[in-house]
């Protein structure tokens, strides 16, 4: 039993924090938000240069081959800095699908590009995406909601409903977003988070666009989603930890009734509660990462971590806006950047209720 980080992980944490504090100030986060793209190209290039996009991708494709624990350490820092860009979507969620389901050619064609940042992958899911055989080839039709970063994507992985007889499994297909029949509409989200409605109108697919076998994509999708969910939890953790530090610092210098508000127990106890939730979240998140690293399915552990992350997000948001009070209601103050992104993370990859329901199903009920 060892709940500490290795020296290398500590170095990763420190260097990531230093880099992001210098290169990803909240002014940049605001710019990325205002642009509507949710992306900062210069930062993206530098992040790719640091190898972060390949942190847990195999060395044979140019990745670092790190553990999920390494990835968790990194995503805590990414969350803490509110780092814009499709890090989680492209380099974890979608890249893992390619890695798990794809053949060698597909991996060679995509993974090195993901790591260098030139390829940006996203994932489109939903019951309304359907692949069908027509004239000897596959076609894709239907639409998918909440597709993150579709506007930037060089390739979209679609998790589609296969021909009726193979239901309920999934066929994973790679789609060129510029192909005829693909249209995207921005969904106008909180903090301008780039999520899209993507419509596929009888898009013809080539044979090599199927990742893995037709109607056998569910397992790969599940595993990739689990890994991405842990990264999402880590982001939440990093953000909540930062909010905690921000409010503690502020409460120590903001004076009311002749004393720093941090001396009031009402304020202290709110901070203490957030600290308890951060500690709990850290244990649950690293436990899930560690279990996946051991090759275990970790279904329950991932669901517990994500369900807790949602609650942690809400607690951090409440503590932040309550202790910063009036000033945090202004656009100018950074707290709103944290609370908006907390909601995005909470909804992404299954919210608290969804994961509690999964947990309940595992408990025999």
């Amino acid at each position: 039993m060892d709940f500490g980080l290795t020296e290398q992980e500590e170095i990763l944490r420190r260097s990531a924090r230093e880099f992001l504090e210098a290169e990803c100030p909240t002014s940049l986060v605001r710019q990325a938000e205002e642009s509507g793209e949710g992306h900062a190209r210069e930062l993206w290039r530098k992040i790719a240069g640091l190898g972060w996009l390949g942190i847990s991708l195999p060395e044979q494709f140019g990745g670092t081959g790190g553990s999920l624990t390494d990835q968790t350490v990194l995503f805590e820092e990414i969350g803490r800095a509110l780092t814009p860009g499709p890090l989680l979507t492209s380099s974890v969620l979608a890249a893992q699908i390619v890695l798990i389901a794809g053949n060698d050619d597909q991996k060679t064609a995509l993974i090195p590009g993901v790591i260098s940042g030139e390829v940006i992958l996203t994932l489109a899911r939903g019951d309304r995406l359907e692949t069908a055989s027509r004239d000897g080839g596959l076609t894709l039709s239907g639409d998918s909601l909440f597709v993150p970063y579709a506007g930037l994507a060089t390739n979209i992985i679609c998790a589609t409903r296969p021909a009726i007889r193979a239901w309920p499994d999934t066929t994973l297909v790679l789609v060129d977003p510029k192909a005829a029949g693909v249209t995207m509409t921005s969904m106008e989200s909180i903090a301008n988070y780039p999520q899209f409605l993507v419509d596929f109108d009888d898009v013809p697919l080539t044979d090599d666009s199927v990742l893995g076998q037709t109607a056998e994509g569910m397992q790969a999708l599940d595993l990739a989603v689990r890994r991405a969910t842990v990264a999402q939890c880590a982001e939440t953790l990093g953000r909540a930890q930062k909010v905690l530090e921000m409010v503690v610092e502020y409460a120590g210098r903001r004076v009311a009734f002749g004393r720093p508000i941090g001396t009031f127990q009402a304020v202290q106890h709110r901070c203490a509660d957030l600290r308890v939730a951060v500690d709990g979240g850290r244990m649950l998140t690293y436990q899930a990462a560690w279990k996946l690293d051991q090759g275990l399915t970790a279904d329950d552990e991932v669901s517990m971590a994500k369900a807790q992350a949602g609650m942690l997000s809400r607690l951090a948001t409440e503590a932040g806006h309550s202790i910063f009070a009036g000033i945090s209601f202004t656009v100018e103050h950074d707290m709103q950047l944290y609370s908006a992104r907390a909601k995005i993370s909470e909804a992404n990859l299954g919210d608290t209720e969804y994961h509690l329901d999964r947990l309940a199903a595992q408990m025999g009920s």
Partner: protein, 389 residues
């Protein structure tokens, strides 16, 4: 990161479980809110048997009669004992007094007190709170006055758990009334048979018989002083942080939770569909499962810190606070799910889980041990987060 136990630790747990399965039959297991004398004595017997195997103080150094292992093994013991509902005894000696003597005691004190604790032969109680002093413990009033080669103690201690079973009390007394409040306190071990000590019964709502302990010109030899005179507050607070993993308490509650989940998966008390098929119940069970897992990890975090040589402080408060509140959340949830059945006590033929739910709800009112939840929040904020006083 490594969430695994070593092979030796797993083997220890396996052996321990074999032992507990053989030695602790269901009918002897403790029921929440119903601690009988017979059950307490049974717990003492189990401790003696554990001690024969050097398991009782498994984490203590061998020179003091321990098993020579560490806090992780001690945690495994606590977790399994709690889960097997072994009636608790000896915990203050093992968890608080022993470690304090190891750090601050003289060689003579170590020889006198430690082996007896490790052998499960003695029971200790703790004398911290007083009738007028609880959370503001530094204001304690029980006086210990030096008189030749003795200390003379006058005053009273409150909420003395185990008082009627204990041989000794580990207590804080004021030795210098002139000094600033935390700097005039000393730590003692008092033999409860000493003349002038008397007990007034103080029954608790969880079925336990505690006491108020009165000290009337009680004379203790100087050798009863632990550590330096007037440094007792600091000695006591340092060693309180040693044994705070709280794994026993966690596992004790976890057992009832696991039983409750099983109960909800069976047919409901009024013969209808299983409670767990109700969406609201499912949701609550899942929430508490998450809470229990969080609690467990926070406890193990404390044990791990100890095993790595760190002294957990606010981390222990995090685990303790979380545990107190999680236990209450579970108790309230179970009461809500069971409706009027939850009010049935042990002895009622219709009481679910032998009345453990009714009992754990009373036990969950214990929100003050080792500091109230508010005190733990203060500790987390001030010592953990460095917020101003």
């Amino acid at each position: 990161m490594d969430f695994n136990f070593t092979l030796q630790q797993e083997k220890f747990r396996e052996e321990l479980r074999e032992f507990l399965t053989a030695e602790v039959p269901v009918e002897k297991q403790e029921i929440f809110g119903l601690l009988t004398e017979e059950q307490y004595q049974f717990g003492r017997e189990i401790n003696l048997k554990l001690a024969e195997r050097k398991w009782l103080a498994v984490g203590w150094p061998e020179e003091h009669g321990g098993g020579g292992k560490g806090p992780i093994e001690q945690g495994i013991l606590a977790e399994d004992m709690g889960y097997w509902r072994v009636p608790k005894s000896g915990s203050i000696g093992l968890g608080i007094v022993g470690p304090a003597i190891m750090v601050f005691g003289t060689q003579d004190q170590k020889d006198r007190y430690l082996p007896a604790i490790a052998k499960g032969e003695v029971e200790y109680c703790q004398g911290f709170s007083e009738p007028n002093v609880g959370s503001d413990l530094g204001s304690l009033e029980l006086r210990a006055e030096r008189d030749g080669d003795e200390y003379v103690l006058n005053g009273s201690k409150m909420f003395t758990s185990y008082a009627y079973h204990a041989n000794y009390m580990y207590l804080l007394a004021r030795t210098d009334p002139q000094a600033q409040k935390h700097r005039g306190i000393s730590l003692f071990i008092a033999d409860l048979k000493t003349s002038g000590i008397s007990l007034t019964p103080l029954p608790y709502i969880n079925g336990e018989m505690a006491a108020q302990t009165i000290f009337d010109n009680v004379r203790l030899p100087l050798s009863c002083l632990i550590g330096e005179e007037n440094r007792g507050w600091y000695h006591a607070m340092t060693t309180l942080d040693y044994e705070r993993s709280g794994l026993w308490r966690y596992a004790n509650v976890r057992r009832v939770f696991d039983d409750f989940v099983e109960f909800c998966n069976g047919s409901s008390p009024d013969g209808g569909q299983p409670l767990a098929e109700h969406p609201l119940v499912r949701h609550q069970l899942a929430q508490r499962r998450l809470g229990m897992e969080t609690w467990k990890l926070l406890c193990w975090n404390v044990a791990w810190m100890q095993s790595s040589g760190a002294v957990p402080n606010s981390e222990a408060s995090v685990a303790f606070l979380y545990g107190s509140e999680e236990r209450l959340r579970f108790a309230e949830m179970a009461m809500e799910v069971l409706g009027p059945y939850a009010t049935l006590r042990n002895g009622s033929p219709m009481a679910p889980l032998l009345g453990n739910i009714e009992g754990i709800h009373r036990e969950a009112m214990h929100l003050h041990g080792a500091g109230t939840t508010e005190i733990h929040r203060n500790i987390i904020a001030q010592r953990g987060l460095g917020m101003p006083r």
